[in-house]
């Protein structure tokens, strides 16, 4: 069951919710639509569900035009952010609803319905709760009822709208691990919407990063984290430092440093922005020729990781670096000490001459060469 989303556009009166979005979803895949609010991810989900319709583009499932099929007949299960349980029905009645409203010819017998609901409630670990009302359940339990209800009609596609958005942090983590296991058991094609990158990276087979109605990048969680395709993805996923640089004679000029780097070959001179992840900054207390001189302004020890603020006068900005928490303590890092900082990787987007915007088609990942002066990264 492959779903092809081709050139979908959806305009609301004052903004473009979707702008020429294309995506293909493979059978059994677990896809995350990740983006900030207003990025169009929920609109895309609602179009998949049949609750909204695009102004242009097509939606095809196995050769069948889904836009001609009403939400009722799409065989799609949808789990809402705020559960949308029927509060006047018991857990059992909620889960049985989709079966009970079927036309008589396709409706299972009472015994079959009861049997199927029981199995589903076991599957979502809510056996024994069948006769409760939603108001008697916790948030996590309600969300599982909503999931069981959506699964009851045996949909071909499962959609989840911010499924953990309304839950406590601890419940959220437990529930998403559980959902991942459930997906591995059932192999049901699943698309979920989230603004939480951790959730997307942890759960999904493939992450679709969206911004302002467009797809910024599609890739495995590892790809979108390790090789962000656009400045937006860099800034939205994980942490990153953004520095204005210049490319000059095959070198990256940043502050007082003219960095020689692998991967710069043939790059035209001009202004650019460079991104570097905090964990890709190496530093040492020793004063070295290659590398920026910096002052360690703050050390934030957050459990297993230490976040460091490095003031770099020649760059005129503060960079964020990361270090293992134990390592940070062992090295006796002190606010106020002087260090030398070397970036290990830089992702460079030249600025387009006419607009001054980063040109994502000329993106380069470069690896600075420091030779003998290279710092061993502290771990």
């Amino acid at each position: 069951m492959t779903i092809a989303i081709n050139h979908l556009s959806r305009r609301f009166t004052d903004f473009r919710a979707l702008d020429d979005v294309s995506l293909s979803i493979a059978p059994g895949e677990f896809v995350a639509l990740l983006g900030p609010s207003g990025s169009g991810k929920t609109t895309l989900l609602r179009i998949l569900a049949g609750l909204d319709f695009p102004d242009a583009g097509e939606l095809v499932r196995d050769g069948r035009d889904l836009l001609q099929v009403s939400a009722r007949d799409r065989d799609v299960g949808l789990v809402f952010q705020h559960y949308a349980l029927f509060r006047h029905m018991t857990v059992f009645e909620n889960v049985a609803f989709g079966l009970r409203v079927r036309p008589r010819a396709r409706r299972p017998s009472k015994a079959e319905i009861a049997d199927r609901v029981d199995k589903l409630l076991k599957r979502v670990q809510l056996d024994g709760m069948a006769q409760r009302y939603p108001s008697q359940l916790s948030g996590g339990q309600r969300q599982r009822v909503a999931l069981a209800r959506a699964l009851a009609t045996e949909p071909e596609l499962l959609l989840l709208d911010e499924p953990f958005g309304a839950l406590d942090a601890q419940v959220r983590v437990a529930l998403r691990r559980w959902l991942r296991h459930l997906h591995e058991e059932m192999r049901l094609t699943t698309v979920f919407v989230t603004h939480d990158q951790e959730e997307a990276l942890e759960l999904a087979d493939r992450v679709v990063v969206m911004s302002q109605g467009r797809i910024e990048q599609v890739g495995t969680p590892d790809e979108v984290y390790q090789q962000p395709a656009t400045p937006f993805v860099f800034e939205f996923i994980g942490k990153s430092n953004k520095l204005p640089v210049r490319i000059q004679n095959g070198r990256v000029v940043a502050g007082d440093q003219r960095i020689e780097a692998e991967g710069l070959e043939g790059m035209a001179d001009g202004s650019a922005v460079a991104y570097v992840r905090p964990e890709h900054l190496a530093f040492t207390p020793a004063a070295l020729e290659s590398g920026w001189r910096a002052t360690l302004r703050h050390v934030y020890l957050a459990g297993s990781v230490a976040h460091l603020e490095l003031d770099i006068p020649t760059l005129g900005q503060t960079l964020e670096a990361e270090l293992g928490g134990e390592e940070a303590q062992r090295r006796a890092l002190q606010a106020g000490m002087s260090v030398t900082v070397q970036p290990r990787h830089l992702t460079i987007f030249p600025l387009a001459g006419n607009s001054g915007e980063p040109d994502i088609t000329r993106r380069r990942v470069v690896h600075p060469r420091y030779g003998q002066a290279a710092l061993a990264r502290w771990r």
Binding site: R72, D73, F80, F86, G98, Y133, P134
Partner: protein, 272 residues
């Protein structure tokens, strides 16, 4: 006694009970005492007189029917006011309350003028054989008029608070529009609908001012109970009047109690 954090329980409960006793229970008790002056036999004779029985049937029959009609139409009006935006919606919304504000006698006279054989509507309806003014039908029309706002005003906020989510959820699960309404929306609206129904019913049973103008007040035909009471008062039959009052009160109380129990049952999912 358990310690309470919120102060003033004793004072406020005492005040509430005293107030309720003074304003509601005392007059009702006086009514019962007055009626007991008749003795059981006399009470029975009064209540089973043809005039009282006919009026009982008309008052409660028409009130029930008007409340049913108001429930159906009120639900519809609330639905339209909440679900759709159209020019003049706010004005329409404000108009709903007018029957509350209008002196009932004015309403009665207005309705009578409209439905009288020479009135705007009567001139059309009477030739068709539909006589409203000065018939039991007129009683019904007046009761519908005065009870109209209740259902709208009780259902409206509940309807407004319903999330679109649940309707979409029902659709996604394969329910038709009709199934979504009957299985999901209606049960959620039912408690509020019953509240509105009970209020409209109580109002219609007790309505006097507007009804007596349009009813024609023909004994045994279009005479309501409150009017029977007034007539007995005019004949200085105070105990009889009190007896009819007591029976009205008892019947109303039983009806409201039944509705309230029904309502609790329809809301069983919120109690725990």
């Amino acid at each position: 006694m358990a310690r309470r954090v919120l102060p003033g329980f004793g004072l406020s409960l005492g005040y509430t009970l005293a107030y309720l006793g003074l304003i509601v229970l005392l007059p009702l008790a006086a009514l019962a005492v007055k009626a007991s002056g008749l003795g059981l036999g006399g009470l029975w004779d009064t209540l089973t007189s043809a005039q009282v029985l006919a009026a009982l049937r008309l008052s409660f029959g028409a009130a029930l029917l008007s409340a049913v009609i108001n429930a159906v139409v009120g639900l519809l009006v609330a639905w339209v006011l909440v679900r759709y935006t159209f020019p003049g919606r706010r004005l329409f919304d404000a108009l709903v309350d007018l029957p509350f504000a209008l002196p009932t006698a004015v309403a009665g006279i207005a309705l009578t003028t409209l439905y009288a054989p020479k009135g705007w509507l009567g001139a059309w309806l009477v030739p068709l054989g539909v006589k409203i003014a000065f018939t039991p039908l007129g009683v019904l029309v007046a009761m519908i008029f005065v009870g109209f706002p209740f259902v709208v005003r009780t259902v409206q906020p509940v309807l407004e608070s319903l999330d679109r989510d649940i309707e979409e959820a029902a659709t996604m699960l394969g329910a038709s529009r009709l199934q979504t309404f009957t299985r999901v929306l209606f049960p959620l609206l039912l408690p509020a609908l019953l509240t509105g129904f009970a209020l409209a019913l109580a109002r219609a049973v007790g309505e006097y001012g507007s009804v007596i103008f349009i009813a024609g007040n023909i004994p045994l035909k279009s005479e309501i109970l409150p009017l029977v009471i007034v007539k007995q008062l005019e004949q200085h039959k105070y105990s009889d009047a009190a007896a009819v009052g007591v029976i009205m009160l008892a019947l109303s109380f039983l009806l409201l109690l039944a509705i309230s129990l029904l309502q609790r049952w329809t809301q069983r999912w919120t109690e725990r």
